[in-house]
Symmetry: C2
DNA sequence: CTGAAAGCGCTTACAG
DNA sequence: CTGAAAGCGCTTACAG
């Protein structure tokens, strides 16, 4: 490891001057700046972290999401990063892959970087409390707050589930199937399903037990034949848009048209959904604003000791073309 | 800011003992460990970085990509993160938004975190050299190496452009339009276009000047009417899959069917393309492997002083249903 | 098991 | 414009 002292020696100046030359703060002659920079380059000097709480590395925050390749989380991650850039914080990432064990490891790794704070989207905020040995200020994103994690930014997934189901029932649908990702890995899917159940029951209809699909990234091999035979649904709600796209593909492989034979709707409002033909009917969640809100809340807590809050953001039904009246 | 000294004071021990209690290294009585940990918790103590090059934060690397929400980059970022987790390195992210000015800022920010190394996907590796005041070990991802950045992991974009064009010509297409993202922001698009030009010319066909589309995230407002009138293309090559999806939507809005009236093909092989109906014809780039390869190369350079290398990975034509013979 | 003290690599008044 | 020196918060032999 090369030290500044060695650089100074090679440049023929003192430690102090070398420090000033490299950091461009104190007054140093141009000649000396050049000498020092050259010496530093030749020696491959990389500054170590000075003590004293001064300067050193930029503060960082840690972000845990299930998967970077899911557009929903990519979108919030992107806006978190933009917000943190302005605030002068670095952003470290970790992925759980929807696996509680990996989730705990991932958070532990983030902690090794001594982050100013954490933004977490966890599998289950209650059980994730096991992590808690003195976490820095933490904001949940997309998970409901708990007593241990009182700061959170969420959408009303329960209400969104009700709204979508209500719309389908209004359009005359009665046999509505709910296809979901793994509930254990997503309390969002759970809340959406709850909204569906409630609304079905409220209309005197019997909710169908959710069909749970293990997460596989992109659902290009989904097989719905058994469920179609068993329930003959006229509409299918998918617990997220990625899954909805997979459902549409699966229906087409069964020779069914969307929305001709079966209506399909999802949640999230991923951008790609607008490019499909017909465009996907979905409940749009403002992922980017949610990410930015979580980032701002975290900064407020970490820098101004602001109290933990729960922000709930509004969603919006986006009528595409994959749903029709019966 | 709370210091270890204050914690020690409150716990009723010396600085040294407090340090040992918190780090669980030297021998400390259980009672004292408890006292110190409690004092630390009460004071909200967060360790500062000790000098001396010892311990401190986990080493980190920095990753710069144009945009996290682009599935291509999300995919490589994800695999970089997975590779680095195993190696015990944190991953910091930065986005350029395809803007050279923001790119420079973003790299400067990353440097503030004193990363062990950098993985960069830049707009233009030649002009980006302006960044170079003593960068740590750096690997380009998706950019061709230069003398200043000799380490790189790339696909053969030029060859991919040739291959796709060749296929369309084989299928009888003659008027082939190339629709591209902003060339200034992507040398990948440039190389793909070059492959197209060469192949067209090689077959005695006149390449059409590329239609450049400014980047807008998701292309749901693309207007191709002028180009369609001017060139009556029977096939359109898009410089990437996201754009290809936009092109297909635009054609449909013009009342044209794909591939009935116009064939469309893209590059990248994003997962969503497989879910479309018909599935997108594209040249698949192994983004995840490329990310992992870049990560491994960087670690090798940073930890073992391995020499810079250029790895070129193989692509693969994925025949979807958006192209047909004429 | 505990503490006094040296030392880590760096920054920054202070003096020239 | 430059240097000697104090000091940053922490770790770690060394001595008890």
């Amino acid at each position: 490891m090369t030290t500044l002292q060695q650089v100074a020696l090679r440049a023929g100046c003192s430690l102090a001057t070398a420090s000033r030359a490299l950091n461009r703060n104190g007054a140093v002659s141009d000649l000396m700046v050049r000498k020092v920079r050259r010496a530093a380059a030749e020696l491959g000097y990389r500054p170590a972290v000075p003590a004293g709480g001064k300067l050193g590395r930029r503060p960082v925050i840690g972000v845990l999401i299930p998967s970077i390749t899911n557009p929903v989380f990519a979108s919030s991650l992107s806006s978190i990063q933009n917000r943190m850039l302005v605030a002068g914080h670095g952003v470290l990432i970790a992925q759980s892959d929807y696996d509680p064990a990996r989730e705990a490891d991932a958070v532990a790794s983030l902690l090794n970087d001594q982050p100013t704070g954490l933004i977490l989207t966890v599998c289950n905020p209650a059980s994730s409390a096991a992590l808690l040995p003195s976490l820095p200020p933490t904001v949940l994103l997309n998970n409901m707050p708990t007593s241990l994690f009182p700061a959170a930014v969420t959408a009303d997934n329960h209400g969104a589930g009700r709204e979508l189901t209500e719309m389908l029932i209004d359009l005359g649908h009665r046999r509505i199937l709910f296809v979901s990702g793994n509930f254990a890995a997503s309390d969002r899917a759970q809340h959406r399903y709850e909204g569906y159940r409630e609304t079905m029951a409220g209309h005197g209809l019997s909710p169908i037990r959710a069909m749970e699909i293990p997460f596989v990234g992109v659902y290009d091999q989904l097989d719905l034949s058994a469920a179609l035979t068993a329930f003959s649904p006229t509409a299918i709600i998918a617990s997220n848009d990625l899954l909805a796209l997979g459902v549409i593909g699966a229906l087409r492989r069964e020779g069914l048209s969307v929305p001709g034979d079966v209506s399909v709707a999802g949640f999230d409002g991923i951008a790609i959904g607008r490019l499909m033909d017909p465009p996907l009917t979905t409940i749009e969640m403002p992922d980017a604003s949610m990410g930015a809100a979580a980032a701002s809340l975290l900064l407020d807590m970490a820098e101004n000791a602001a109290p933990a809050r729960h922000l709930s953001v509004a969603h919006m039904l986006r009528r595409g073309g994959t749903v029709r009246a019966i």
